[in-house]
Each structure stands twice: as structure tokens, then as C-alpha cells.
Point group: C2
Chain length 509, copies 2
């Protein structure tokens, strides 16, 4: 993989000046077209050997492009707030919005490679990490992103020469750190591991480009051309797709301008029965409820204050039909938890900063740090519920969301987050009763809107969507719990009991 | 101040039920009017004695209001990322956007009070902290916010009774922590200090409301009524102002719906000469430049890698007329700094999340943590430059911005941030030369837009605004440096030299 990058490519200064000037103009044009098109981001990963021109490339991109629309982010050792969250959290936070170019100096490849070379990471862990990386990049590409993965290479001999010459000049000496020499001592091992990683992650949608870093002129032109080609290809595809679709998909969420991938999933699993025939008639008297809820809350109070919670976080998702009692159940939980340790995140329409990012971005930004509870009043499941039913998302987008959500939740679970997902199930009759009650009570009227009545008309579609959702996203690490909620008391007690049981388990383990 | 809250107010259950039901409905109506009006936020501070119902009040507000539009945030000990930034950073991050209600459980009052009671904070430091708090709250109110400051009080006897009764029941025992008892042992001291703090910060614009916390019914009604009255008064004033102004101010930034405060400042200082008669003809040959810039960068490289940088951060602001050479100067700085240690923040139009917050919010979110450089390509000075000249901000808003900005920069300086502000000064002739050059060079054309030509027509207005700005905001902790920039080489070298000198000083000190 690296051999072709050791041929010692060079470009004469005169030729470079001429080419560079033309290339810069074309890159700027492409950048401005991207900016006005605003339908996808460009993500440039800058990785490779020390001394091969990574830093110079970051500077170059900021000089050639309009830097006001370039987001550059370099990654050092994780900060505390990064360490207390899933590994990918800091990369999600650094994604450029649609229309912009993000330059990531160091990336999600740095840790797997360093871990393998320096810390003896196992084969299995490396394979799992790379699998996660592929899933993540596939998600970005499916969402429309252009991913330009650059690997800057130097032969062993050239790298040594380069480090020595930087060190000799007292004006550039500060650029060479002891770590650079330590890494150099492991050149062969680095090379072997990198080659493996690049090989494993060079996919059709997101291939690696290995660049000979020995000559600055050659390197600059190679980077510029690769970036230009990638943006132009994508803009061309977008124009083509727009022409063919007559912009039909334009307004839907998650609609990428790419030719839509074949939808590979079955239309509907046979899940229709999942939410029917529940024992809706069960009841818990007010008297018994008041005893049970206080007991459950006391237990939750103790568990949530356990010292072991420092290594855990909790994500609780509440979904359910309108008027199923999500808010009331959430309040019974928060009453028991120290207010400094939880946040309730009601999910409504995305802001424009959120709209300019991949779908899951707005949930990543609300993830709890270790020690904290995050309770979602509606959640990322909106994509496969309301967005599916109402047609806000393309079939392509909501179909692939099941997989993306499972991968997302697995990442959370792996980082120490306990995930609970509740579907509050009520009958259509019960909903009607509650709607009418709300309309009749002055301080509850705000809870009932025309939208609720509209949604009710699509009751059966929602049941199908919810059943599919539960079937496709109930995993060992993030199982769904269906709560019969015709009796609010019962649902509240069971929600806390379920939470307590999971938490007890997790804190014991 | 606290005596009236020790009278043991109670409200019978029957009366409470009736009143509460009416109050809830009215609160919801007010909340929805606030939400659709969207011109100001409501900030509720929940502070006071342990056991006086602070947590219950937070729950109550989330139960009575539509919780999807309430942002509740409780403050514990600061996290690492909070400790590495100015003290107020975490409160800025927690401000509710316009149209929403923010409930802050613990606030900017917690540290001054605890510091004084527990850690022997000096009179002088406390006075300075309270002064800062008053400035901050005045800024919020000037920006239109409704500030409801609630202090929950219990007499010594009642507090003891309350803690004992919570502890006796094994279901509520977890609520009482050893810290609560420790605090109780210092009740008298707490009371004295709190009374002083409340007295010092009960201003006309943001008065304290002391609430007797001994009876849950009374407490709930008192909170609900206070909140309702505050929101309604503000909505009424907004309607009144809109009627009188015919919405004339409606579109301007920082226009609050309040009756405009008298603008107390002089129109223009006699600063017109400040930016004229600079030695614009000075030149630095390319040959000398190349020697000097590399030396300056090497020094910056060393300084920025100093271990002492761990306790410092750097904020560099670049302002100047269009084509003054901001981008080029910034790149010469970033070339010398490790890419993991700086970020460049180009300031463009605010996003909708930013528009819904006080003006300085979008700069607070980009503040560097200790150890980091943040370089602003244009900055918070936009308010007193482009927004003043173009009339985007009301005179009221840009006039008070000088003071707000000085207070803001003082906070940064106090937290260990070294602040440099550069005005790149060019002559009108030089600008014309550069505009024409840009139009003639293909890869520079993007830098010149119709807006640049429009701004140029207002050259003299910008000179007046810039001169005022420099005169009013050049402080000992954040001085302006005017750089003659007709010669780009000279300006770049001097910018880095100035930065090096300040940094050298700061790291020595």
C-alpha cells in the first residue's frame, strides 16, 4: 500500500506555481458551490507519519480555501469531559455542518493505531474498533458526507532525514519532540499496523489516499487535486440526482443527493401482535401506588447516590403515543435523583445547527457524562416513528436508521452507559378518554393540540412503526420495556422498578 | 430581610387546591404567550437554606409548566472543563434561549456565599464578586431577560425539625447528607452572610424574593404567583412598547421590548485622530521579513509550548477594515502553534441558537480552556463596529456594549486568559489597491464582494466607530494594539512580536 508513496515524487517550483494557482481557484469555486448548495459536508482526515507534512497540509488548506468556512480541529489526549463520555463523542462534536469543510488533524484512526503499536491492543479489540469505524463512516457517507481520508507517508530513511534536518536548525527545532523519536524507533511496527488498518478501512465509499510526503510541492498538489475531485464528483452527482428526481426528495430529512441505495430490508416484520393483547386491564389502587412509588423512589435515590455511579451513566428513553403518560413517569424518576445528577431532554424540532448535521448529532450533544442520568422525552426513535409515518424521512433514511441506532446504543453501552427504553402502551380508547379529559381541564389544555388529533388518525400506522422499532432495536445492551400504561400508577411504578433492577445489576457487575 | 419569612405562613389544603388549579392554568397561558412572543427569556434562580423546598420547587415548576419549554440546570462542584474556564462560563452555557424558562438550581450566588462562610473569603473579594454579579444581571435585564430570584428561607428551629423528620423516615433518609448537618452547624453565619449578599444584590431590575419554606402549600403558591406576575408584567410592557414604537425597533439586534433606557453616554469622544497620521509609509523588505518572521514564529513556538502555558490561555482578536490582512496575520501565528492548542474562530452571522441568547453568548461558547489559544477573526466588537455603523443594533444596545465588553474581558483576564486585540490599520488608498488586486487574481476573487464595496462607502463612519471602540475598550487587562498594515510584512511581524512580549510577561509573572 505504501510502496507507491516512496517513489520520491517531486514537482519543480515553476511548474508548481502554475498548477497551484489554477488549483486554488478551482478549489475556491468548488468550496463556494458547496457552500451555496449546503446539502453535504466535506470531512478531510489528516493522518500519517510524523514529519510527512500533516501540519503543513492543515495550514495549506486554510490558506488555499476560504478559512471562514473551514473548521479545523486537532486532537490531543482526551480531556476529562471527553474521557467521561463515549470515545466517539469528541469526533461527533467536531463534524462540520453541511456546506462546510472540516479538517480533522488526527482522527478516529489515531487511537486504534497507537493502541495496537504502543499498548499491545489485541487483535480482537482492533477488529472491533475498525468495524465500528466502518459503520460510522458508512453512516456519514449515507448521510451525504464527502469523506477524504489522507495518509501522509515517508520511507524510514526519508523520515529520519527529515527529523534530523528540522532539529539541526534552531528555528525549527521546537517542532521535533521526544515522542517523535520514540515513534520513529517503532517505524516498522507502525508501518505494519498502519498498513493493516488502512487496508481494512479502505472501503468503496471512503477509500484511503496515501500521499508521498517527501516533497512539499508534490504533496500540496496531490492533496488539492484529491479534495477538488472529491467535491466536484459529489456536486456533479447531486446535480444529476436533482435533475432525475425533479427534487422530489429534496425536502425530506436524511435525503442525500446521492443516488438512493437499494433499500435492502424487508418492508415489515411480522410484529403486528407485539403491542396488542397486552394486559391493559390491570390496575393498581391509589393507596397501594402511594406506598409502592415511595419505596421505589427511595431505592432509586440510594442507587443513584452509590459511589459506583461514578463509573456509570444512565440513559432513559421514553416513547409512546400522545397522552401515554411520559411526562408523569419522568417526573417520578427525577423526584428521586439529585437535581445535579440528571437532565431531562425533551426532543422537539431540530434547530438549524442540528439540521446541518447527521441525524444522531443532536442526541450525541446531550449524552450524559459518567455519574449522570439523561432522560429523553422522545428520542432518536423519532426517525422510525413520526418521521417514518408522516413521510418526513425518506424510506432509505429511516430504514438504515435501525442499524445506525443499534450501533449508536452499542457505543454508549460499551462506554459504561446503562440504557433503558420504555414504550408506554395505551389503548386507543384510553387515549380518547385522556384527550377529552385534557380538553376539559384548563391547566391541561396545553397538552392537547390539533397535531395530537392528526396523529390519532394514523394510530394503526404508528402501531406498525412502533412494533417494527421494538423488534429491530431491542438488543441485549439496550432492551425495550413495554409498559401497559392504561393505568398510570402501574406504569410509573414499573418504570422505576425496571430502572432499579437494571441499575442494581450494573452497579453490582 | 428574613424575618417576614419566619412567620410560619400556611395555606389549607382545600384553599390550596382551588388556588393552585387556577394559578397553573394562568402560568401555562403566560408560558405559551412567552413562547410565541419569543422576545425574552425567563430565568428563575432557586437558592436558599437546605430543606426549605428548593428541590421540591424545581419539581413543581416542571410539573406546573409545560416541561418541554423549561430548561432546568442544577450546579454541583465544577467539572474539569468548567474549572479550566472563567467562573461564569458554566452559567452562560445554561442560560435559556428567548421564549423559554430556565430554572437554575444553585447559581452565581452559591460560590460567593459558600466562599465567605466556609473558606474565609475576604470582604474585598466578596464585594468584587457581588459587583460582577450586579453587572452580569444588569446585562441580562438590559437584554430583555426576566430574572426571578427566589430565596427559600427557614428559621433555625424549623430547619432542624425538617432535617430530623426527613432522617427519621427510612424512605426519605437518603435526602439528608452529612453536608446538610455541617451547614446547619453554621446556620447563624450562613444567615448573616446570605442576608448581606441578598441586600447587596437586590436591585430594582433584579430584586430578591424571600419565601418562607416551612409550608409546602404556601411555598408553591408564592413561587407560582411571583413567576406569573413577573412574566405578565414583562409581556404587558412588551405589548405597550410595541404599540408605542409601532414595532420600529423590532428588527434591531439587542432591542429589548422594554421602554428604552436613557442613553447616558456622550455621542462621540474626541478620538477622531486616533487612527489617522499613523506612519503608514514604513516598509519591511521581503528579505528582512523572511528572517524576522521565522525568528518570531520560533519564539512563539517555544512560548506556546512552555509548561507554564497550562495555567494560561490566550485570546487574540483581529479587527480591521476589509482587506486589512487579518487572515494572513492569523495564519502566521497558527503556523507556529501546535494545531492541538489553537482554534481559529471566524465570526459570521449568528445561528438561530445564538440569536436566541444575549449578544456575548456566542463568544462565551468559543472561549479557550487553560492551555489553549483562541484566535478570533472579527469578534464581539462587531456590535460597536458594523452593527453600530449599519444600524443593526439600537443605539441603546451598542452604547452599553462598551461596558459589557470591558466587564467580559476583565472576567477572562481574571481567570488567567491573556487577551490581545489588534486593529489592522490601512489607508483608504491601500484598500482600493487590494480590492483591485483581488478582483484581478482568480483565487482571490472570493475575498471581494459587493458588501466590501458597500462598507468602503462608509469608510469614515467606520473610522469614527473604530476610534471610539479603541478609546473606550483599551484597558490595562485587554489593551488594543494598532498595527499599521499598509505593509503586510510589518504588520505580521509586529503582531507576533507583540503577542510574544505579552506572553513572555504573563508566563514569567
Amino acid at each position: 500500500m505504501f510502496e507507491s508513496a516512496e517513489l520520491g515524487h517531486t514537482v519543480e517550483d515553476a511548474k508548481y506555481e502554475k498548477e497551484a494557482s489554477k488549483l486554488r481557484a478551482e478549489l475556491l469555486e468548488a468550496q463556494y458551490e458547496l457552500l451555496s448548495d449546503k446539502s453535504f459536508p466535506v470531512i478531510v482526515l489528516v493522518n500519517g507519519v510524523d514529519g510527512a507534512g500533516k501540519g503543513e497540509t492543515v495550514n495549506l488548506l486554510n490558506e488555499w480555501l476560504d478559512p471562514r468556512h473551514v473548521r479545523t480541529r486537532a486532537f490531543g489526549p482526551p480531556t476529562e469531559s471527553e474521557r467521561l463520555r463515549p470515545e466517539m463523542w469528541r469526533f461527533w462534536r467536531s463534524l462540520p455542518p453541511k456546506g462546510k469543510i472540516g479538517v480533522l488533524f488526527g482522527s478516529w484512526y489515531t487511537n486504534p493505531i497507537l493502541g495496537r503499536v504502543l499498548d499491545g491492543m489485541s487483535d480482537g479489540k482492533l477488529a472491533a474498533d475498525l468495524d465500528r469505524v466502518r459503520t460510522f463512516e458508512q453512516m456519514l457517507v449515507d448521510d451525504g458526507a464527502v469523506l477524504v481520508k489522507l495518509w501522509f507517508h515517508l520511507s524510514k530513511k526519508t523520515q529520519k532525514k527529515r527529523l534530523v534536518s528540522l532539529e539541526k536548525d534552531k528555528l525549527t527545532r521546537w517542532r521535533v519532540t521526544p515522542q517523535d523519536w520514540k515513534n520513529f524507533a517503532r517505524y516498522d511496527r507502525f508501518r505494519r499496523v498502519s498498513e493493516h488498518v488502512l487496508h481494512e478501512t479502505s472501503t468503496g465509499a471512503a477509500p484511503w489516499l496515501v500521499i508521498d510526503g517527501s516533497n512539499a510541492n508534490y504533496r500540496a498538489l496531490a492533496v488539492g487535486r484529491a479534495l477538488l475531485a472529491a467535491i466536484k464528483a459529489r456536486l456533479g452527482a447531486a446535480r444529476e440526482a436533482a435533475k432525475q428526481n425533479g427534487k422530489a426528495n429534496g425536502k425530506k430529512n436524511g435525503a442525500s443527493a446521492m443516488p438512493p441505495a437499494a433499500v435492502s430490508m424487508l418492508r415489515t416484520l411480522d410484529t403486528a401482535g407485539l403491542l396488542k393483547n397486552l394486559p391493559f386491564e390491570e390496575r393498581l389502587s391509589k393507596q397501594k401506588y402511594e406506598v409502592k412509588i415511595v419505596k421505589a423512589q427511595a431505592k432509586l435515590g440510594r442507587l443513584s447516590r452509590s459511589p459506583k455511579m461514578k463509573k456509570r451513566a444512565v440513559v432513559v428513553v421514553f416513547e409512546g403515543m400522545d397522552a401515554a403518560g411520559k411526562g408523569g413517569a419522568i417526573r417520578r424518576i427525577t423526584q428521586a435523583v439529585d437535581a445535579r445528577h440528571y437532565s431531562v431532554i425533551p426532543i422537539a424540532a431540530p434547530t438549524d445547527e442540528e439540521r446541518a448535521q447527521p441525524y444522531l448529532w443532536r442526541f450525541w450533544r446531550h449524552l450524559p457524562r459518567l455519574g449522570q442520568f439523561a432522560i429523553f422525552d422522545r428520542s432518536w426513535y423519532g426517525r422510525v416513528l413520526v418521521e417514518r409515518v408522516e413521510g418526513f424521512a425518506t424510506e432509505n433514511a429511516w430504514s438504515r436508521a435501525y442499524h445506525e441506532i443499534n450501533a449508536f446504543e452499542e457505543e454508549l453501552a460499551d462506554s459504561g452507559i446503562v440504557i433503558l427504553k420504555f414504550w408506554l402502551a395505551i389503548t386507543k380508547e384510553e387515549q380518547m378518554k385522556r384527550f377529552k379529559e385534557r380538553e376539559a381541564t384548563r391547566h391541561k389544555q396545553f397538552k392537547i393540540t390539533a397535531e395530537d388529533w392528526r396523529n390519532r388518525r394514523k394510530w394503526d400506522d404508528y402501531v406498525v412503526a412502533a412494533s417494527d422499532m421494538i423488534a429491530r432495536t431491542s438488543t441485549s445492551y439496550a432492551p425495550w420495556t413495554v409498559l401497559e400504561a392504561n393505568d398510570k400508577h402501574l406504569a410509573r411504578v414499573r418504570a422505576i422498578d425496571t430502572l432499579n433492577a437494571r441499575l442494581d445489576d450494573a452497579l453490582r457487575g
